[in-house]
């Protein structure tokens, strides 16, 4: 045992809470379940902060590199001579950072849900699932090896499935949950095959071994190639596909907007702040390996990230469902993080992208959770998701309005809010590596500001709408988390990430790159201005612009028909042209053959049955003829 052995409690407490509420939750009042869950998460949060403080500051000797510590490990399953699945806890800068993110957001969501979910049927179930999710997510980030990560990866997927389908009587929620699970499962298949290939080549699952400077993977660099890429590149690309699925990267993003069918706190926790960034975390976790042995895979990462962020940002401008806008925004922001990882190098200032990505992950978790919880508060008071049915809400919801505005400003990258810093570093890293990607991201920064303020103006300003009953500010349990997260969104930009979370563990000199920062602030301001003119002043009429854009607008409004494409593939191709023929083939050809055998035997026996007529003379005739024939055969012919 060592100084960090208490970290074992961090995942175990939520697990215990899950089992406790899951098995006994129906025995007592729902609110008690909520309190148990929240209390559990409080402990987890405290422990996480303790871990972070001691890891980053108190136990750290200044000037040395942050090392990764394997705090705890047990054997879970012996596979081969070399391969063993272990369960353990690994502490290093990114995992400790993720601990803070997850526990903070999760705790806030737990508190928030006490108000938001109050009186809902299945309140206890909700908290059980939340605890299950927290357990899985914490286990994921603390994983010591890639297989443990896969285990928790799947668990996270299931928690997400269960929470999206929380309103199980609502068909749309059910199909959304199904879709989310299957799409991510498809991506996980890539992850699994990637793991298989990696473990086959390196004979290890262990992260520390894999990413060390004498990684066993290095000896395979010159190995066999397939379609022009080395096997290692393929393996790591497949692993990235797993990450892309979880992080809703193009073209595996289609589940994320639908996942908004889940309760809003869930969207805030899982589909904004934590689970969807697991893909980023995965790539970050294996980042040394990527940059050492498969830089080609990183190029793919960067482009996928870039395309996703642009794609999502465009769609976000056309959506009316406020949660969907936020969902596309999430996808877009994760695209930023992926891109930053993709353009990053390893070590020192080259690792700027890596640092920026993690920083953005952190700040994004804060402001996006804030925005989602804010949206939740709005929905809670208006009972609608559609921004066309809202307006002028700033009068009714002052706290929500204020915090939401902070969120919008942060995501738009207005200094000195945290989003500005992290986004700036990403843009700097992109400019350094690939100007084309930089151009995309620069554009996206502007679009982001536009669609966020489109949302903001539509909801909080504009026409005064008639509501069925007057919207009212949410209770304190809901507004306090908003304020806490707003605090985080404002100030997390001042954390010295360049000293804490770097690619090689060593601090490096980072500063605001004014040649990037000033234009990016300008384009953000431009985006806000456009939104202001269109939706506040209405000097530009949105409909006119929409019609002038024509097909492009319609395409974006219909999410570029990605859902339809998937539906086509799944329903038409897989169902109609694979599954149905397989079922038909089985019933008619395979089973038909078997039945044919039975049928022909039956028919044949009906034919033979005539011989067994019971007529003695016929028997006699056959007997005599047979005897004569046999004699002829044996005597004359043989």
């Amino acid at each position: 045992m060592n100084a960090y052995s208490y970290t074992l409690l961090i995942p175990l407490i939520p697990l215990f809470v899950f089992l406790l509420i899951g098995l006994t939750g129906h025995k007592y009042k729902p609110s008690i379940s909520g309190l148990i869950g929240t209390a559990g998460l409080l402990v987890v949060t405290v422990l996480s902060y303790m871990t972070a403080i001691s890891y980053f500051w108190t136990d750290h000797i200044a000037g040395t590199a942050y090392t990764s510590l394997k705090v705890f490990e047990i054997d879970w399953l012996h596979l081969t001579e070399f391969l063993t699945i272990n369960l353990g806890i690994l502490l290093d800068p990114i995992s400790v950072m993720m601990l803070v993110v997850i526990s903070t957001v999760s705790f806030m969501v737990h508190i928030y849900s006490l108000g938001y979910m109050k009186g809902e049927k299945g309140f206890a179930r909700f908290y059980a699932f939340l605890s299950l999710f927290s357990f899985s997510m914490l286990g994921l980030v603390l994983a010591t090896n890639i297989f443990q990560m896969y285990i928790f990866w799947e668990l996270v997927g299931v928690s997400s499935y269960l929470l999206i389908g929380f309103y199980y009587t609502k068909p749309s929620a059910v199909s959304a949950s199904k879709k989310a699970f299957i799409v991510t499962r498809f991506a996980d298949l890539g992850f699994l095959i990637g793991i298989l290939m990696l473990s086959f080549m390196t004979n290890t699952f262990d992260f520390q071994t894999l990413v060390s400077s004498d990684s066993p993977a290095l000896s395979h660099m010159g190995g066999a190639t397939f379609l022009g890429l080395s096997t290692l590149t393929w393996a790591l690309t497949l692993v990235f596909i797993g990450g892309a699925g979880k992080s809703a990267m193009f073209p595996l993003h289609i589940w994320l907007p639908d996942a908004m069918e889940g309760p809003t706190p869930v969207s805030a926790l899982i589909h904004a702040a934590t689970m969807v960034v697991a893909g980023v975390y995965l790539v970050a976790r294996l980042f040394p390996l990527y940059s050492m042995v498969a830089p080609d895979a990183l190029v793919i990462v960067a482009w996928v990230g870039g395309i996703s962020s642009l794609f999502a940002a465009i769609i976000a401008c056309t959506q009316y469902d406020i949660k969907r806008v936020l969902a596309y925004s999430t996808m877009s922001q994760i695209g930023y993080m992926m891109l930053a990882l993709g353009v990053s190098g390893y070590g020192g200032h080259d690792g700027l992208g890596f640092m920026a990505s993690n920083w953005h992950l952190f700040t994004h978790a804060m402001f996006k959770a804030l925005l989602f919880l804010g949206a939740g508060a709005i929905i809670h008071s208006v009972h609608s998701n559609d921004m066309r049915e809202m307006g002028n809400l700033r009068k009714y919801l002052p706290i929500t309005h204020l915090t939401f505005l902070i969120g919008c400003l942060t995501i738009a990258g207005i200094p000195p809010l945290s989003g500005f810093f992290s986004k700036d570093e990403i843009l700097a890293a992109a400019l350094h590596a690939n100007p084309a990607l930089f151009a995309i991201e620069y554009l996206v920064a502007g679009i982001t500001a536009f669609y966020m303020f489109r949302l903001y103006f539509n909801v909080f300003w504009g026409k005064s709408t008639h509501y069925h009953h007057t919207p009212h500010e949410s209770p304190l349990v809901m507004t306090i988390p908003l304020m806490v997260l707003a605090f985080g969104a404002v100030f997390s930009g001042f954390l010295p990430f360049n000293e804490l979370v770097t690619s090689d563990g060593l601090p490096f000199e980072a500063h605001i790159n004014y040649s990037v920062a000033i234009p990016s602030v300008l384009i953000a301001a431009f985006g806000i201005l456009v939104a202001y003119m269109m939706y506040r002043k209405e000097s530009l009429v949105p409909e006119k612009i929409a019609t002038s854009l024509g097909a492009f607008y319609r395409g974006a409004y219909h999410k570029f028909y990605m859902d339809e494409l998937y539906l086509f593939v799944t329903h038409k191709i897989i169902f109609r042209y694979i599954s149905q023929p397989v079922a038909w083939f089985d019933r008619n050809i395979v089973d038909g053959t078997m039945n044919l055998i039975g049928y022909s035997i039956e028919k044949a026996s009906y034919m033979i049955k005539g011989f067994q007529s019971g007529r003695v003379q016929q028997y006699g005739y056959v007997f005599v003829t047979g005897a004569v024939a046999l004699v002829i055969i044996f005597v004359f012919i043989w």
Binding site: L77, L79, Y150, E154, Y168, K178, I578
Partner: protein, 506 residues
Amino acid sequence: MNILTLFVLIPVVTMLAIGFSKSMKSIRVVAAIGMGIQLILAAFLVYAYLTERAAGNTAEMLFTYDALWFPSLNIHYSIGVDGISVAMIALTAVVVFAGIFASWEVEYLSKEFFISLILLASGVFGFFISIDLFTMLLFYELAVIPMYLLIGIWGSGPKEYSAMKLTLMLMGGSALLMVGLLGIYFYSAPDGTPLTWNLLEISKNTIPIEMQRFLFPFTFIGFGILGALFPFHTWSPDGHASAPTAVSMLHAGVLMKLGGYGAFRVAIFLMPDAAQEQAWIFLLLTGTSVVYGAFGAIFQKDLKYINAYSSVSHCGLVLFAILMMNQTALNGAVIQMISHGLMTALFFALIGMIYGRTHTRLINEMGGLMKVMPFLSVVYVIAGLASLGLPGLSGFVAEMTIFIGSFQHTDSFHRMLTIIAAASIVITAVYILRVVATLLYGPIRNDHYNHLTDARWFEKLSTVTLLVCIAAIGIAPLWLSDMINFSLAPIVTKLSMATSSFVSIF
């Protein structure tokens, strides 16, 4: 008395006791007590086995006993267990126990029903403890025959057709098997020494390669038919659909495992050279089974058909892993047998319970059951998650062991096949979630369902027993996998000595 003989004796005593019981109540109580003792005995066997191993006993088979019962053919009642059989016995005991409670309310000819059911179980137990090939085959037949009656009399739908089909196809398998086993018998010992049926002794001798080439397909397909090898799997959907609940449970849960166990214990173990040579053919077939079964399941509308096709897929994976012939894959195969046995038994139990309430098995006629029968629905969801390989439940352990083991194969053809087989996890997710979504979620489609009740105590007992085992394996697989591994080591050594004349396609 040998502890293993008890496994055959207790069912016999139970059957006698049932025979003397008067009322339906006492019949099922007797059956439950008998199988409860069996379950306890199985638990004790696991414990005794582990203690023995811990004490350093490294014999290949433990608790052996041998008695000659047919001298002119040298047939022995020869029994013994290793880690694999112990695991299978434990599985059988659990499934049978759960099966008794799942058929708690069989009213029609209940005495005969329970007697047949337990007769079937005793055949299965006998099969797993036998070392003598002939005795093994004898118990195998003993397990298959009652199936005909159980489906033909207590089944539903086109039960006569299904019972006939199932029995005939399995008997066809037995015929192939008989040829294979007789062939093995006649080459079981070097010239001049008496022939033997004993597995361990045969394994010390090498069957000539020409004979292996000839006998291996017979033996493997013979067992493979029972293990739902494509394209001999079609008895499974019809048979399962028509069978009563407990029979489906036992059949899919245990009887199909006889196929996998036999294919591995007899076909691969005794004829490794031919296995190496011909593996690629059967790998293609089983690989097809895996994907094909899963695709087939997507399109089905009847719950039992869905599950039957899913069994085809999962059992295909068992045979697939067996053919990979390395320790990890074999280990995975055994775990998959156990895991699938528990899962599918649970599924069939649940389907039976749901059917007993709604009187339909068509998923699009049902919906929203979560609201009216939360217990059954939650268990169904968990079983579904186990089936699609959720970590923490047994399916994940089994599948991952198989995939990793198979992928360790040095040949790239095998690795490609592994990737294809791994793709089944996605397809599995599709059909499982489709069922869960249609059946359990959503609004209630039929007003009558509002009055349905949730599980009764015996149903809860049945499902929880299985569920606990599934979770136990899923959470702590190490003891099971180590127990199996230990017993696999000598087998793998023998396999690795086999001359591999397989020529890679790539």
